[in-house]
Structure formats: structure tokens, C-alpha cells
Amino acid sequence: MLDQIVQLAQLLISGVAQGCVYALVALGFVLIYKATETVNFAQGELMMLGAFLALTGAAIFGWPYWVSIVFAIAVMAVLGMLAERLVLRPVLGHPAFTVVMVTIGMGYVMRGVVTMIPAWGTETYSLPTPFADHVIKLGQLVLPTQSLAVIGMTIALCVVLYTYFRFTRIGIAMQATSQNQLAAYYMGIPVPRINMLIWGLSAAVSAFAGILLAPMTFVHANMGFIGLKAFPAAVLGGFGSVPGAIVGGLIIGVVEALAGFYLPEGFKDTAAYIVVLLVLMIKPSGLFGERQLKKV
């Protein structure tokens, strides 16, 4: 009995660690969706690019871990802003699905570029981290420092983001923009520039997610597909809700870990999608989403 409880706790911890990554990617596109109503299918690729940049910093230039994290996040923030300015702003006002196709195209471009850069290519790399391979033993429970670090850094990022949105001028402006663009515009908030900054912020958060994911799955050109699991996370939490994205991500991570252990083979990879189909059928507005009625 005790063994089973320990096992369950073990699964929960690894699920939560994986879920943190989903949560951050989901957070990335909830930010974008709330502000610009664009669903960014390239979020996973942004994450992949961030991981590759950190890898370049750490493994090729030989920078310390923290420096390469900052480097990757900064470069991705700039890239995110550029993407908004050059590709997404021109399609503003087009049908939603057209914009989705643009982001899918961006995903293709990023994957293509990564495989074409000689030092990156199609190979698989591992990102060296300062907390690799240690374990902390708590009674029978074995806690890998890797997972704890992921959970800790996610919490830290959430606190930073919370204070940013709650207390800084620009954070409040971003909140206003995502609640009502037109009203924000009338209040003198430069909406296009805010949208650009939100893309930068979202890309930076994704890069961070990629760096956290790197020790768990390795860095490779197709790691962006993991970002697709963040859609179920975002839908589960109600598509436009930031706390919802985090909770949704954690739930998806835990469900996946449990499904991988207790259910037959094949359920681990599809668990997230089965959950999202169920949510969409039963409660399409998600756990935290507000119910929207259409006025005629």
C-alpha cells in the first residue's frame, strides 16, 4: 500500500514537472490570444528555437548556464517582436484561420532554418545543466533535482509575470489591451506597440519553457511538436485565461504521467487529446473560461 502511494507521488512529481513546460507554452499563446486573438501554432517552434539558442550559448560558446538562458530569452524576445511586426501585423483583420495558417507557415520556416544551420541540423543534443542527475531522498520518495528545478523556476517565472502584470505600467497596459482593444486605444495606449511587446514576451516565455524542457527530452528540430500538447492545456483552462493555462498545463502533465503508467501503451501520447475532446464536448468554455453568449 505504502509502495503504491510512493509510486503515485513519484508519478505526480514527474507529471507536474512535465506539466510546467506545457503550462509555460500554453501561457505563451494565451498571452498572444488574449491580446491579439491570434492562435499561434508556432509556439512550439518558438520554444524549440529558444532551446537551440540556449544550447548554442552553453555548449558552443561555453557560457555559464544562467548567461545562456538570459541570452536565449533576449534573442527570442526580439525575434518574437520582429515576427509580429513583419508577418502578423500585415494580416491583422483577416479571418482567424488565415492568421492561423500564417503562424503554421512560420513554424515551417523556423523548423527549416534550424535544420539548415550547420551547427544545429537534425541531430539531437542535450543541454548541460548545473542540477543534472542529483536526487534528494525523502524517506522512500526519490526527488530528482531536475524536476524540482523545473517546478521551482516555473513558480519563480509565474511570480515575476504576476508582479509584472499587476504592478508595472506596461503590464497594466497589456491587460487593458487584452480586455478591450478599442477602449485601450481610446485611453491612449499604443495598441500596436503593446501587441508587439506581447509577442516578444510570449516568445521569451516559450524560450524559457524550451530551456526547462531540454534536459527532459533533449534538444532537436522536432521538439516543437511537444508544443501542440499545450493546446489541450490552454483549452482545458479556458482559452483566454492565464491562470487557467497554468492549471491546464499541470493537469495535462499529470494525466499524461498517470496514463503512461496505469493505462495500456498508446494512451500516454493521446491522453492529452482525449482529455481535450472530452472538455470540448462537455464544457467548451474550459475550467476558468467565461461563458460567452453571442448578441444578435
Partner: protein, 359 residues
Amino acid sequence: MRFLFKTSYEQDVRLFQHGGQVFWYGLLGVLALLAPWLLSEYLLSQIVFVLIYTLVGLGLMVLTGYTGQVSLGHAAFLGVGAYTEALLQSHGVSFLISLPAAALISAGVGVIVGLPALRLRGIYLAIATLAFGIIVEEILTRWEAVTGGGAGKHVKSMRLFDYSFDGSDNAFYYVCLITVVLSALGVLNLMRSPTGRAFVAIRDSEISAASMGIHLARYKALSFAISAALTGLGGALYAHKLSFITPDQFGLIVSIELITIIILGGVGGLHGAVFGAAIVILLPQMIALAKDYLPEGATPTAGLQSLVFGLVIIGFILFEPMGLHGRWLKIRTYFTLFPFYRRGMFRRQRAFMKSERTK
């Protein structure tokens, strides 16, 4: 300049609007019939792929282009069609029965997907179909007794009575051609019927459609069924063409590739499906050709291909949202109206205030 002066209602729903169209489509038909003698084996095989993708494009055109429902899981229908065909062929069923069966089973699966679609719209529908596509791919991999699992399944050659032929024969080209022509005529007729008009009404505004007495659930499910049937038919032919199918040929990447058919070709016209299928099939070939002229021999094709593919998608949406068919319409209008063509003639109103949240 040609003026179409309509004097009767029948003229409005006529398949060919004027003599010019009869001539050009007739010429295209003759060329298509003679293609096996005119073209090399390689080109013909590419054209077969274009025909198969055209079928899928027609299916997506009905669903996305006319009914306005987005699907990111269409490769699943392709897969259902392909595996149904492979299974029936392994039991020695004639393709005259197995092709419609593949279409019907795909249509059934389409209805299952279409039912929840009533409650979902826009991006939620896209995510639901994406989830569905991934689940179907997993089922195809795991259900080894029927699908052969990840190891793949061999597809027997087509048989008509005692005569058998496989995906590289001329006879197969004709099977594809006839299927595509019949399907295209079917879709054209559908779009001239009350059902087709209902689809377009749903696309333009669900609320107005419902208030005009259109049963949304029934028509959306029907649209999914028709679309899935056409895609399943395409899948069945695809299985024969490839002669060996594995589940990963029906994954998410393929679904996206299928969507790009109508995006590149142009939504809202059957020509778009043909043009789009042609680009999606020929683009990788052209990249492979262009690679020979690139200075660096070390560039991996896969990366270049995905880079160019992405750039083409973005480029089309930014600069030619109406797709290749739209570009063709513009060029044609330029010449028929010469010198009175204005740049703003095809400009569409952007709907900045149109929001999925407040709509």
C-alpha cells in the same frame, strides 16, 4: 470583352456560362484523356498525385471553403479511406465496391466528428479536429490486427473482373481521372442545390442561416460527411498509388499539407483545389530540382523544403490571400477589361472589429 446577358433563370445555374468555357474545358478534357500518350511516365505519375490531392482539395473546399468549418485532422479521413481500401482489397473485393465503401466509412467517421462540431466554432473546432487526427493516427498504429501497425500494410493491386492493374498503370490514371471529374461535377451540382446554398449561408453567418430555417447541426454534419467521403475516396486511391501505407503517412503534418492545398489554391472555387493540389505536389519536386543549382551541396533537403514551404504559405497569405486561382482571375480580368482594370477591384474589406469573442 464578353457580356453575359442572362435571359432566363436556367441560364444562371447552367454549368458552363458561355461557349468559351465549353471550348476550353473540352480541350482540357481531351488533353487529359490523351495524357498517357503525351507525357512521360514520371510526369503522369505526378499528375496522378495531383488528381488524388485534388479530390482531397474538393473535400476541404466543401468543408472549409463553402461551409466555413476548419479541419486540422483531414489526414485522418485520408487514412480511414486508405486502410479501408487496403483491407477490402486484401479480401479480393472489386474496386467498384471498395472505393464507394471507403468513401462511405470515411463519411461515417466524418459524421462522428461533425456532431460535436455543432457546439464548437473557429479555433476550438480546429483544435478538436487536430486532437481527433492525432487520436486516429494512434489508433492506426495500435490496431495491428487490421492495419498492420507501425510496420505498414501492403496494398494489393486493383482488379476489375480478371484484369488487374496497380498504381503506375495507365488504367489507374483513368480511374483517378474519372473519379475526380465525377466528384467535381458532384460538388458543382451540390453547390447549385439548396443544400449547397445552405452551406454557404452557414459560412457567411450561422445566426442568419439558423433564422432562415437552416438546421445547423444537420447541415454541418452533412458537410463533414461529404468532405470526409471525398477525402476517403482520395485516400483509397492514394493507398493504391503508394502501394504500401504506414500510419505516419496520415499524421498531423499531412493534415496541414492538405489544408495548404486550398489556402494556396484559393478558397471558394473548385479551380482552387486543382491549382493548390498542383503546387503542393510540384513544389517539393521543384525544390529538389533547384537544389542542384545551389552552391552548397551540404544543405539538407528536408530543411530547405520546410523552409520554402513555410515561406510560400506566408507569402501567399500576405500578398495573394485569394490564392493562385485569385491571381488567375485578376490576370484574366486585367486582359478582358483592358485598359480599365483598377487595382482595387478585388480588394476585400478587412474586418478589424470582427472578433471571435464578441461576435
